[in-house]
């Protein structure tokens, strides 16, 4: 009898131990999820938190991990959040710089006339087809706003 009782109590204890984890994880998950920003998904397994989703910047990513770590019962945090790639802004050269650089780039094309205004390079005159691609390559590297090509191609 004694042995059976002991076994029974052990079974119950073990069951409670295993089942006990689940509600605890769920509670931690709910608590962290409520504090995290939108777009962040929180998963908790045996006190180990995994963060997934996409955030705007590194600071938000770091803060999300701190929030998770601060929660009671959390053993560790796996931060799998990704940072949204930001678009590189379009850089357009200032007119004085552009005017000087366009003059340098077009110097070897005597039949080409170039004017610069508000970042727009206006090309007039004529050019050989073979030289056009070279000229365009040179000008495109100078960060113009636009290349207005009115050249007559011979």
């Amino acid at each position: 009898m004694k042995t059976t009782k002991l076994l029974m109590s052990m079974v119950i204890a073990t069951t409670l131990f295993f089942v006990g984890c689940k509600p605890k994880d769920a509670a931690i998950q709910a608590a962290i999820q409520a504090k995290e920003a939108a777009g962040i998904t929180v998963a908790v397994t045996k006190g180990e938190v995994t963060l997934t989703g996409e955030v705007d910047d590194e600071a938000t990513k770091a803060k999300a991990a701190e929030i998770a770590k601060a929660e009671k019962g959390v053993k560790s945090v796996i931060n799998n959040l990704t940072v949204k790639p930001t678009d590189v802004p379009v850089v357009i050269a200032e007119d004085p710089t552009l005017i000087k650089n366009v003059a340098d780039a077009t110097k070897d094309f005597p039949t080409v006339k170039a004017e610069v205004k508000d970042g727009v390079v206006l090309l007039t005159g004529e050019i050989k087809k073979a030289s056009l691609i070279t000229l365009m390559q040179h000008l495109s590297a100078l960060k113009p706003k636009k290349i207005d090509n009115k050249l007559t191609v011979k």
């Binding site: 678009d87 590189v88 379009v90 000087k100 650089n101 003059a103 340098d104 780039a105 110097k107 070897d108 087809k129 030289s131 056009l132 691609i133 070279t134 365009m136 390559q137 040179h138 495109s140 590297a141 100078l142 960060k143 113009p144 706003k145 636009k146 290349i147 207005d148 090509n149 009115k150 050249l151 191609v153």
Partner: protein
């Protein structure tokens, strides 16, 4: 993003060619494509694709700024003018006095490439000055 559609073949080619730091944005009716190509042939290929989409580049709706990556260890460059000699100037700019010339096809020493447009070079005769970088091809 009508321009992105118009130049889709070009951006696809750029992606396929493994252009580094590729950035494609549309702003005020112009599409800007920036990036770095592994070599000159890749850059030229993209320009051919561009020329097919917009023959003779007359639309004025694209700025294709793809430069060729240069290994920091590269020390020499070849003069790739069409046929003429390349001027070597005292400073970076065509307003600067000419201090020497490098022949078409000549391989010269690169001293400094901190200026994107004008590279500081030295000829085999020891003349030192600035050359227009577009007429120099780095030698690997």
């Amino acid at each position: 993003m009508a321009l992105a559609d118009k130049y889709k073949a070009l951006t696809d080619a750029a992606t396929a060619a493994g252009i580094a730091d590729l950035a494609v944005r549309e702003q005020d009716g112009v599409l800007y494509i920036d990036g770095t190509a592994a070599d000159g042939a890749t850059k030229d290929h993209l320009w051919e694709v561009y020329n097919q989409i917009d023959p003779n580049f007359t639309s004025g709706d694209l700025v294709l700024n793809v430069n060729v990556a240069i290994d920091a260890a590269v020390t020499h460059a070849k003069v790739i003018t069409e046929s003429s000699n390349l001027n070597i100037r005292k400073g970076p700019g065509t307003d600067q006095p000419i201090v020497g010339k490098a022949a078409h096809g000549e391989v010269i020493t690169l001293v400094n490439r901190s200026n994107d447009l004008w590279w500081l070079v030295r000829t085999n005769d020891g003349e030192e000055g600035y050359c227009y970088a577009q007429y120099l091809e780095a030698q690997s």
